[in-house]
Symmetry: C2
Subunit: 603 residues, 2 copies
């Protein structure tokens, strides 16, 4: 039967064959998990995603949200699915047990998340936002705060948000104007307006806990003077019951391109009366604390790109196998029409999509792999390296998966022809929903600055060198296999060139030409992402070649052969283009910096 | 003041400085036009586009269409603008006088169309469709048919359509099932269902004339047996008055991603009674006749890509000049925030957009240039070459401008950050409206097949060689200018490589590897388009350099300097990537053909 959302066999391949995650399950903290339980969890998640969530996707988009008198009403079809996920504790699968979660290994939790995200789109944010906010409270809150909020947020009984953006403080968080005044009882009175708040108000949870960034009276300007506060929608009494309504209200929702049923709220605090907030951590530590949540949010955003791309690819593939149109190329005029998967340009397009979906999934799971490595690290140095690689690659996971995921969705629409432009197929919605990923949680431009400005030089460049060495390792394995030696050599050239480009760009970033260097930062992020795609596809091919030696039967045979063909396609038809882009970075053209503002035109 | 839609100065530059179109105005058929009248026309069109049309764009998208009992109601705000355009005879500006048009030179008519299209989006189709259908009648109709229909379609009193697609006949026109049976009076009874019919039914015109593709009973299978019929919504009496309603009805409209207010109709013929059609031209000549309209439609679709990209670029540029966010890179922490146009990644993005908008506009006007050349050609050979170049480049105008135009819109959204994802700014709508261009009037894949399979070898390759020689001419001019010699050399390398790629691909297309060759046909169309962009940007730089020698003042100075910087940017940061893509074509990887259908996964 045709697959939807994501191919289960591919998860098994990545988790157990490419990454050999079984070794992590020996860790005593995973006592409750073995390969079989992981498999059962994923199978069940897949079933829920397809049977329960997927049917709400188009309806949620069509019905949208209702906003009236500060109240946001979600589509009717969301409630039963939300409750099902809450009761099944699906939202807290990967959350540590100490927070009331199930403590599943990250690779299982993210595989489940991919299924859920591809299946539920806008609905996903309502379920997952609570855990992210709770993690900050768990790390920085007082015992009382932890006891009061964490478990009920993790269980999705209460929702969570992140009140960061203001009309004049988007990318520039330091410009925020929301203020906090300390009250005699130690609480703070918060006054200000926030915009673009995901799940800022809705009817799926009985309470919503808002972490709010604000500046305490007299605090320094810029990011150094920002503190973070817990602002509950309803106050929570000491016995856990809900008290009065706090003065934080939704004043409107955005009308958006996609994720239509995910409430993007404007929020007003202290406009009607007094909005009370509780300091989280110390004063002026808001940015540091918030970044804890931000990294998780960036992973999550990358996962959106992957999940929607995978969902869109499966739809396009199924359609290409069913839709009959035109005779096969080179056949006589009276030959019968064939399914469009037979047409060369459609095959190219599908394989292009597959190479990204495969590469992105392995890349995402590689991040989980680093998380697990960090947990079992024997030395501080090992742990710091695993954490470092995770941090180095976070801006790439966020930006690259967002952009490439979107492009896959766009190409999926193309496979459907005219029908793809209509709302009759979900490819159109995947495309719209996916577009947000390149924008929120830090635009792609911001990620590129983070990569070049902060991440490349981490630990004196050791992290980046370790990352290159890991790629080299896969290349060496490929070179040792007759079938893959050529692909190994090609990837070697790319890797060498990436090293050259990184050194060149890094040098320029610290020279008087730094503006020109940063004008090449997003292309650099992209070629680093391309190299990771080549690496992951090659790694898959190495694994598949090893498995093919055991002469597998049935569906495994085309599956493994598919890995090798996909790697060949990517390395021979995408990599050279990326090498060309590397040339442009080496050339360091400064036209975008040199051109006068007036010369952009339109005056 | 900030410009909207398109920069008027740029049209002047392309029409009078890059292409020196004044020479065409000496042609006696353009007696009524001189440079000044052309300028007045364009200035007036710009005013109408901005003041009258643009305000309907967001409203049309929001209100959408109403469909009830076979009747399609357009947004209320459309009617006065439609009437204004009709009364001002704006729809027939470029239509030959013999058809009742104004016979303006194509370069003026297309500049006006670009303004109108960027300003009115969905509304545009209602105004322009009549002329396209009328042109077919003018060419192939009887005197009676011409007299009855042409002028009133050209004037937009009546609408026009093209009934081609059926549920099982999209790209595969030959599979159509609509049938025609000859009646004793020489008319035909038509029976069948069509889908995706743009403007198939609406309330802006008193009558709609449908050209319908159908197969006459007993005609051969496939495209060879297709005839074309004129099927009026209301019969037209000999005195020109409207008679009875014909049995052609709209049975539904599509719910689409964009161009929401452009009616995409399902049409049923002969379902309730008898649908009468009048043969146009001879029996079984339907495809040949239809292709006349198709070429115009493909130009028009390319123009959509350009117009929306230009509109989106101007919006993004204006926003970047107003939006204040973050301090300048490299400034101390307490430095004041600046407009985002100061940020390197935003500058890169804007210049990238500008390089495409400029390149695409010049490319489009180059097509007009060929049209004019054909009209004044001294010899049959000259005319055949100009027509040949026009035909060679038609699939590229259609596919490349659609795709690159869309990407420009996507990047424009990115400049707006979170606000770009909302419907508060038109960038979002330009992006949605633009997506259709890669799909209708033949998908990009179909265009690529046309280019490789039919166009490259035209006139024994002479057309393509003439095209290369034209590029060489600009390169030689650039090499002769000190300031542009380096850009000339770089473009020379690209041109040489394009020649090599074309020869290699052509050879493979006629070998047993033809399927692999066609799997590279769309990448080939893209690199040919990239080469045209490099050429056009270089040509602009050559022109600007010549103008700068005269030491221009005021706004002309940054305008010309902008042309040079834009060319430098494109040739140094986009061209190398495209050269990398050329490498992939030379490598002729066959993975997409070799991979088994099963290995695509998902089974």
């Amino acid at each position: 039967m045709a697959q939807l959302l994501a191919e289960k066999r591919d998860f098994d391949f990545v988790m157990w064959e490419q990454f050999n995650n079984e070794k992590f399950l020996e860790n005593e903290k995973y006592e409750a998990f073995n390969k079989k339980t992981c498999d059962m969890i994923l199978t069940e998640a897949r079933k829920i995603a397809i049977k329960e969530m997927l049917p709400t996707m188009a309806e949620g988009d069509k019905v949208g949200l209702k906003f009236e008198d500060g109240v946001v009403t979600t589509p009717e079809c969301f409630k039963p699915v939300f409750d099902l996920l809450k009761e099944g504790e699906w939202g807290n699968l990967g959350v540590p047990e100490v927070m009331g979660g199930q403590g599943a290994p990250s690779f299982v939790a993210s595989a489940v998340s991919e299924y859920f995200m591809a299946g539920r789109s806008a609905l996903s944010s309502y379920v997952s936002m609570g855990s992210g906010a709770a993690a900050m409270i768990q790390l920085y809150g007082t015992e009382e705060q932890k006891k009061k909020y964490v478990k009920r947020m993790v269980s999705a009984e209460w929702g969570g948000t992140m009140l960061l953006t203001e009309p004049n403080a988007g990318s520039d968080v330091g410009a925020l104007e929301t203020s906090a005044v300390k009250n005699p009882d130690g609480t703070y009175s918060i006054t200000g307006n926030k915009i673009f708040i995901t799940c800022g108000e809705h009817d799926l949870c009985s309470n919503i806990i808002h972490p709010v960034l604000a500046r305490i009276e007299g605090a320094p300007a810029g990011t150094k003077g920002i503190s973070i506060f817990i602002v509950p929608k309803y106050f929570v009494n000491d016995d856990g019951s809900l008290g009065d309504r706090n003065d934080i209200w939704c004043t409107g929702i955005e009308h958006k391109h996609g994720i239509v049923a995910s409430a993007t709220c404007s929020m007003a605090m202290g406009a009607k009366g007094t909005c009370i907030g509780y300091l989280l951590g110390n004063e002026n530590e808001g940015m540091k604390i918030m970044f804890n949540m931000m990294n998780g949010a960036r992973m999550h955003t990358g996962l959106q790109g992957l999940a929607y791309a995978s969902g869109a690819y499966q739809l396009a593939l199924n359609y290409a196998r069913e839709r009959v149109q035109m005779r096969e190329l080179g056949q006589p005029h009276d030959a019968p029409p064939v399914t469009i998967i037979k047409h060369p340009d459609v095959r190219r397009n599908l394989l292009w999509m597959k190479s990204y979906v495969n590469g992105m999934r392995s890349f995402y799971q590689y991040m989980d792999y680093q998380e697990e490595l960090s947990k079992i690290a024997d030395t501080e140095e090992e742990r710091a390296l695993a954490d470092g690689i995770f941090e180095l690659l976070t801006p790439i996971i966020k930006s690259y998966l967002a952009n490439r995921g979107y492009e896959v969705c766009v190409q999926a629409v193309q496979v459907f022809g005219g029908a793809g432009y209509t709302k009759d197929y979900l490819a159109e919605q995947y495309m719209r929903d996916c577009k947000i990923a390149s924008i929120y949680e830090g635009t792609c431009g911001i990620q590129a600055m983070d990569l070049l400005g902060r991440k490349m030089g981490m630990q004196g460049g050791k992290v980046f060198m370790t990352f290159l060495a890991a790629i080299q390792n896969t290349i060496d394995e490929a070179k040792g296999l007759t079938e893959l030696a050529d692909l190994g050599e090609r990837t070697q050239k790319m890797l060498n060139k990436l090293g050259e480009v990184a050194a060149h760009l890094g040098k320029n970033a610290m020279s008087p030409q730094y503006k020109t260097a940063f004008a090449h930062s997003l292309p650099y992020l992209d070629v680093m992402g391309d190299t990771i795609m080549a690496w992951m596809n090659l790694w898959r091919a190495v694994t598949a070649t090893q498995k093919l030696a055991a002469k597998p039967k049935g569906k495994d045979l085309p599956f493994y052969e598919g890995q090798i063909k996909t790697a060949e396609f990517f390395i021979r038809t995408v990599v050279p283009t990326s090498m060309g882009r590397m040339d442009t970075i080496l050339d360091m053209c400064s036209a975008a910096i040199d051109i006068s503002d007036e010369a952009f035109g339109g005056l």
